[in-house]
Each structure stands twice: as C-alpha cells, then as structure tokens.
Amino acid sequence: MPAATASQTIGPYWHLIEHAEWADLTRFGAEGERITVTGRVTDGEGAPVSDAAVEIWQSSPPADGHFPGYGRAATDAEGRFRFTTLKPQAEPGLGNQTQAPHLSVVLLARGLMTALRTRLYFEGEALNETDPLLSAIADPAERATLIARPAGPGGWTLDIRLQGEGETVFLEV
C-alpha cells in the first residue's frame, strides 16, 4: 500500500495560482454575520513573511453554492493578510464535546516544507472556556496565540508567529 505523497514547499512563486477574490468567502452571495479576519505573519526574527499563502476552512456555516467555506489570501509586503467571511458557529467535537467557533488555518510558504496548521478562535466566546483544544493548553500565553481579538466593527485580528517569542501553537492533525 503506497504511503501518502510527500509534501514539498509551495515556494515563492505560488502567486501564479493566486486569485485575490478567494479571500472573500462571501463573494458568491452568502448571507449571514459578515466578519473580516486580519493578521500578520512574522518569522523568527520578527520580519514579515511576505510570500505566504494563508488558507482558512470552516465547516460552519455549512458550505453551499453561495458559501465555499474555504478562502486563501496572500500576505503582503508587511506580512498582512485579510479575509472576509461569515462568523462560524459552535461545532460538535468528539464524543459529547462542543467546539467553540473557530476557523481552521493552513499556512504555506517558501521555507515551509509542509503545511503549517493552526486555528483561529474568537475572544469573548463563552465556549472558549470548555473548547477541547483551548482548554487542553495550560499556558494562557500559548492559548492566546489561537484567539483573535476584536478589531473594529465586525473585525477580528490574530497575528501568526512562526518561530520564537510568542510562537503560534501549531497543530498536527
């Protein structure tokens, strides 16, 4: 039985498949609570990662012809990314657990041999306290690397630090 094909880096020139509109998950006419999600990706020296692809997937609200549930954004010269999407709702976890609203995040870039995975939660959600992933992270500072803060009306922001101080919690799934 062959093993899964090996990952290789997305490299610096993946923008050949970039379509800026993919960062707007509401572009097909989705209706619901519209939010923007922004952030900045930095490396181990705090320098902006200006050639990354940031991808989000959300199983809530359910994807349909008007809402793809998936988006991709390129980081700019300052390492910034920006999505427009619909606010996710709570999701079932394993067993009888409930997951707080979140986005699945995949980060791809030159220098990343495999996709880096993390999550983005939303500050102030009561379910954050009992979310299976968040509540398993003992260190509040580490936990905070997964929780976006409000940034203006309908806006949320979370920076992603690949390495070093304040390093984002990355996930193996």
């Binding site: 990662v49 999701e91 079932p92 976890g93 067993g95 041999m113 880096l116 995975r117």
Partner: protein, 237 residues
C-alpha cells in the same frame, strides 16, 4: 452523532521535516515547539468542495496567450487515490510552473531568462469519477536559486490538492525522470524515505504520449487514507 472517521497519521519518513538546515529558508520559518496533536473533528475531516462551475478548468496551459508558448509541449496525466487505493473523484488540482526558459511569470522572479507572454503558468483541473486527471503544458526549465553556491532547482511542476477533507490538503512538486539536478536538490532530499522521494518523480509514459504531438508523463498522487491501520507495527490504532 458519531465521531467522524479521521485520516490516518503519515507513515514515518515519508514527509519532510519543517526544520531542514540544507534548505536555508526553513531556518527562521520552522516552529521550534513540537506540534500539538489535535484529534480530528469535523473541522479536519470535512473540506471544501470545488466545482468547475465556480472554479473553471484550465486544462491546456499552452492556450492561455495569443500564441503558443515556446518550449516542448507535454501531457501530464495520472490518478489521485488515497492510501487504501480508493480513487479521489471530482477533486480540484491546481498546478503552476516556470516557462520553458526556467522563469516564472512572477514579478519577484529576477532570473535572467526570457519571459514568455504566452505562458502565464497556471493550470486547474478536476479528477474524474475514477480519480484520473490530465493537462497539457510545456516542459518547464531548470532555474537557479540562492540557497547555496551554484544552486539550481530540478525541473518541476507545483501541485496543490484538497482531497475530501482539509486534513488531506497537499502541496507538492512533480519532478521529471533523469534530471541530474535531483541528486543535488535539498528540497527533494528533505523527504527522508527514498521510496517516498522517488514517487515525486513522474515517469515517461508512451500511452500518454500522443503521436506527432507531445510527450506524456505519468504522475500518480496518493492522499491520506481514512480510518484505522490494522496490522501496522502489529497493533490496531
């Protein structure tokens, strides 16, 4: 509600490490803390379902300009299956590549090789019900990069696949058989297992080749399988 069936862990040695000193760009970009294991939930076992209606196919990359691009026309075809040999049907594949001279249609590519206005270098195809895909392109050129002295990337085409769940997301590169640069490439050699590495190299295929028209290369892709792996290391996971 019963728990979703998770995708299996990767087999040891078949995936590259994030910290790979021979590839300089990993130095400041790899996490230093171990990844935190996340049991797969519906967030990981489900994923986007793209359709050609909203994401139109670009199956012939040689017909995106005013004229044919320069270079050697090729056909790339293969099959996408999972680790259990099941086809992955109707899944979107994105591909991108340099032109025949080894230059990308990208503002940050400063390699002193001719641009080709007839080759934007993007493709997008979908597998059929049996997991088969096919596209037409030109053979890309090798190009230098600054990783180390006299560093050249082997000829390659980038692939992006989504599968049926976000945990199957795969970005990889397809190489060409007989390329002498493969032996020297730190990105290719980041994959520890030799067999897994060699599966990144496409095979020349006379059945895909079309007479009087184009050489054909086969590149099969395997995505993670679902469910427990019995008999692995003598135990059931």
């Amino acid at each position: 509600m019963s728990d979703p069936v998770p995708f299996r862990p990767f087999q040891a040695g078949t995936q590259p490490p994030l910290d790979h000193a021979a590839y300089g760009s990993t130095r400041l970009r790899h996490p230093t803390r171990p990844l935190r294991r996340l049991p797969q939930t519906v967030s990981e076992t489900t994923g986007p379902a793209f359709t050609p209606a909203l994401f139109p196919e670009i199956a012939d990359m040689t017909r995106q300009g005013q004229a044919a691009p320069l270079g050697e026309r090729i056909i790339v075809a293969g099959r996408v299956t999972d680790e259990d040999g099941r086809p992955v049907p109707n899944t979107m594949i994105e591909v991108w590549q340099a032109n025949a001279a080894g230059r990308y249609a990208h503002p940050r590519d400063t390699h002193d090789a001719p641009a080709d206005p007839n080759f934007p270098g993007e493709g997008r195809i979908f597998t059929d019900a049996e997991g088969h895909y096919r596209f037409v392109s030109i053979k890309p050129g090798a190009y230098p990069w600054r990783n180390h002295h006299n560093a050249w990337r082997p000829v390659h085409i980038h692939f992006s696949l989504f599968g049926s769940g976000f945990a199957q997301r795969l970005i990889t590169q397809m190489y060409f058989p007989g390329d002498p640069l493969l032996a020297l490439d730190p990105i290719y050699h980041a994959v520890p297992d030799a067999a897994a590495r060699e599966r990144l190299v496409s095979r020349f295929d006379l059945d895909i080749t079309e007479p009087e028209w184009a050489l054909g290369y086969r590149f099969d892709i395997v995505l993670r399988g679902r469910g427990a792996t019995p008999f692995e290391d003598g135990e059931t996971q």
